[in-house]
Amino acid sequence: MTSTESALPPPSGAPYAPSSDALLSVRGLVKEFPQRGGLPGRPLPPVQAVSGIDFDVPAGKTHGLVGESGCGKSTVARTVLRLEKPTAGAAMFEGADLFGMDRTALRDARRNIQIVFQDPFASLNPRMTVQTIIEEPLVIHGVSSGDEREARVADLLRRVGLSPEHANRYPHQFSGGQRQRVGIARALALEPRLIIADEPVSALDVSIQAQVVNLLRDIQDESGVGYLFIAHDLAIVRNISDLVSVMYLGKIVETGTRDEIFDHASHPYTKALLSAVPEPNPVTERVRQRIVLEGDVPSPADPPSGCRFRTRCWKAQEQCIHEVPALIDRGAGHPVACHFPE
């Protein structure tokens, strides 16, 4: 298993050189949630949401984290932001240990790490105007005063493709895509160096998704912000990411550059995921060899022994039951956690 000490260096075979130059470097992150409902003396086993993962977000780049619902990808985001307390592991942001910070240090760190949420209807306070929402980070961190703030908000609104006259309106007066732009404007207000985008487009209509993804890319080009981009949609992740990690049941099963993952996937789960994404092209779709996985993702409260994917894997052998595959390069050119990679 991965080391749980807070110190680097990373476990052997980590995807790319660790990390002192990375914007965000996460090592051995574990998050377990205790389960209610046990009897005294016989508590239920904890839910293993994240079970020891390592990844880096280089400055100005995008690391895409993909997986199906319940794989723990959103927990990663929340834990890195310290919205949840990590069970074990370390997260270094520009060389500073996020998990070891006291309140003041954390507050300062939060200026540089922002989040964009999935649900554009829930992520904006319905009782606040867009002005108040976007200037809140400035107020909290005492960055600028009165008139300055108004100009700053107008500027941010323009930057995300809204008009400054939208500032005195309330969130429910906007469409989903516009709300998501407001959320992005709020995240940009303090000019952070890292934005964690937790499924930022999955609640939006297809035609709107593209707008928001393009906006995020433009912002990165302009400002050099790094993204941790969390999504379940591989096609979106391909579109925006430089690095990609695939998660299954709390673990990263494969990681590498975008081209390595999408062109040379070698973990059976990654292959199945890729195969399941439909293309809007009937001619190729009808003849495509498709891997359809059987069954559902097992419960993270009671994950399978050995390789967690073995219960749905067509390649599973005796070894997979007993031995946890390490995330190392077995000749695929990038790290894969599989005893029998392709």
Binding site: E68, S69, S175, G176, G177, Q178, D205, V206, S207, I208, Q209, A210, Q211, V213, N214, R217, H232, D233, L234, A235, I236, R238, N239, F262, A272, L273, L274, S275, A276, V277, P278, E279, P280, N281, P282, V283, T284, E285, R286, V287, R288, Q289, R290, I291, V292, L293, E294, G295, D296, V297, R312, C313, W314, A316
Partner: protein, 338 residues
Amino acid sequence: MTDTTVAFEPSIRNGETLLEVDDLTVVFDTEDGVVQAVSDMTWSLAAGETLAILGESGSGKSVSVQTLMGLIPKPPGRVVKGSIRYRGEELVDASAAKLRQIRGSEIAMIFQDPLSALNPVYRVGWQIAEMFRIHRGASRSDANRRAVELMERVGIPNAAARARQYPHEFSGGMRQRAMIAMALALDPKVLIADEPTTALDVTVQAQIMELLQEIQRDTGMGLVLITHDLGVVASVADRVVVMYAGRTVETGPADPFYAAPAHPYAQGLMNSVPRLLGERFRLESIPGSPPSAINMPNGCAFHPRCPHAVDRCHQERPAFVELTDRPGGAACHRTGEF
């Protein structure tokens, strides 16, 4: 653990025409006035055929099929124009008893969110068995036996035990299978699936689409798939209907449609789908957002977002016309110009 090849199926089969929706217009009376949810909608479905109704949220795609199932609440809903015929029989003004007889046994329906679509306080098997007990007057034990058989058929493992569980004990994919089992109970001629995979994970999505296709192959029923996801239905649809703001903007056989959509909205939609294949990394997008039903633009509803809009589009609503270069039709003043 399967490598399944989806066999190539010859497209449109010339089966009996089952459903004909003709010039259907549905409105809702709201406090802000009368809202047109579906306007002048026309399509038909033959046995063994798969029709995909494509559109984004609020485009009216669900309202149209809920109307034909008699599931929209009246009031505030109203059919102001048009007809819906099932095997020649008019459904718009059909009696409640007649509709009931058709619902479930002739036309079945599955929904987007299988958790809320199943009654939380009854066992899954009971809810499937209810079909046999009510429509066929089957005995309790007989109905239960057949429910378990159905659950096996839709690939629910350990069906006898699963039948005695409640919906919340099922995973998302299993719930949708249970819904499908319920829909199949009386061998309907038509199955309407309203966003059947939207709430599911991508690997489960593939399972469900495969199951639907397999069932259609076995039973030869007509399938109406309502979705916002162009990719999901690409391999299964025989024909498509694209809706925007309550109106049909394009129809046609699937293959030529996917190869070259004719309507600017359909083109935009196709271009904004992120893809796994190909070199194109920058997504194209449709600017703006869909209009609200209470504040519909004049002329062509799509003109504020359309890259090709001309003056005429602001004033005059385009008629739906047959395409000249391939089968199908589109509602655009500039059809064929680009």
